[in-house]
């Protein structure tokens, strides 16, 4: 368990560059979904990918910093309740760190299911519980409005991570050498 929270120089650098990528995708690469007025935020797929590779601390910070800075750039000031929820979901994605075997080239079948269960649970906690509750506590937004927004966000982000996150991990997996792939002749 201690491994999950170890912060090395590599974690820091991955956090910094991951957050820059997250920011970029968050602002420029949105895919409009078939449902009107909503779009898939590809940034969360990327956040999940980095979280699985570098652990929950990196995942949480990437989503938090990336979301806060892109909000600041676009709106002048971050919307704190959703920025915090982003951080929480990034952290939750990171709980799949070392559970998927992607570094050993074994990301298939069962690992894909494990990764997706973790990310869906993480999204539900972040967007259906934390974001609306903070919206009410911090901003006193109307209750039914924030929960509807939260449920839509959770669904959209789960779909995004399931598509983009999984495919990125599969692509990364293909570049890794499998354990025991060498035979003695």
């Amino acid at each position: 368990m201690k491994d999950y929270f170890k912060v090395t120089t590599r974690t820091i650098v991955a956090t910094g560059l991951g957050a820059a990528l997250f920011m970029l995708l968050f602002m420029y690469v949105k895919v409009p979904s078939p449902i009107p007025e909503t779009s898939l935020q590809t940034a969360y797929g990327l956040g999940a990918f980095f979280a699985v590779l570098f652990g929950p601390i990196a995942g949480g910070l990437i989503a938090f910093i990336g979301h806060a800075l892109s909000d600041a750039l676009q709106y002048g000031s971050p919307w704190w309740s959703w920025v915090i929820a982003s951080g929480v979901c990034g952290f939750a994605y990171g709980l799949a760190y070392k559970k998927t075997g992607v570094e050993e080239g074994e990301f298939k079948g069962k690992s894909i299911v494990v990764f997706n269960i973790i990310q869906i649970v993480g999204n539900i906690i972040a967007w259906v519980v934390i974001a609306p509750v903070l919206d009410i506590v911090i901003y006193k937004e109307p209750v039914n409005l924030v929960f509807t927004q939260g449920i839509v966000a959770a669904a959209m982000n789960s779909v995004t991570v399931a598509i983009i996150g999984t495919l990125l991990l599969v692509a990364y997996n293909a570049t890794r050498t499998q354990k025991g792939s060498l035979d003695k002749e």
């Binding site: 560059l17 990528l21 690469v29 600041a72 676009q74 002048g76 000031s77 109307p142």
Partner: protein
Amino acid sequence: MNSKLFSYNYIDTPVHRLSGLTKLIAFLFLTFAVMFSYDIRVILLVMVFSLFVLRLSKIKYRQIRLMVIYVAVFIITNAIITFFFSPEEGVKIYGTRHVLFKIAGPYVVTQEQLFYQLTKLFKYSSVIPLGITFLLTTNPSEFASALNGVGVHYKAAYAVSLTLRYFPDIQREYRNISLSQQARGLDMSKKAGFATRVKNALLIIIPLVFSTLDRIELISNAMDLRGFGKHNRRSWFSKKPFTTSDFIALFISVLIFTGTILVSVFINHGRFYNPFI
């Protein structure tokens, strides 16, 4: 696409001369004050103050036009959906009901709802000038030292500084990849269907991510070789020492913050100001 992250450039104004740490603390105090209060008098006061600071820092409209448009769209959308989802929110908060006119079904415009939404509109727009001033007058490399100054661990602060440092690079790379994929016939327009567009987004993201992963290895090796993270503290190259004006700025922001809290506790007895009773 603007390739410079914050269009920060140094002009000699009192706001630019303040240390980054002061500006961060003042920004946090003032935004928390506005976030906490639902009293339109307090909010308008902070708004006037923040517009004054914006003016003092000589920011031109050209620099912030895009932000202003985004914010206006956000605030208007928020106002419409708030009314759509809970037209009686104001009545619930203030406890009285003065009907102005009816629209249809449950959608009745009341004075309370109008007052609530007006307060909210000013509440959200009053922090924007503060955020803009903070972003445009703070040197990005001083930002990390300011974060460390308010108690964020230096490793996290350093991650933020890396983000700010590498964002323009990654943006440039994104543009190169995107253009070369389009030259090869990738359809980025609205004509393509949903599945194709997801696939096309991936065709840009994958090369971007893999080149970033290589860069992570390179940078972290370089930082390790220079002994990054060996100690519990570090010093910052771009840290400004405090001056008298820093203390004055801090004093004003603390004053506004405590003032807001005191008004809520002793005058309004809650976060809302109720003119209806």
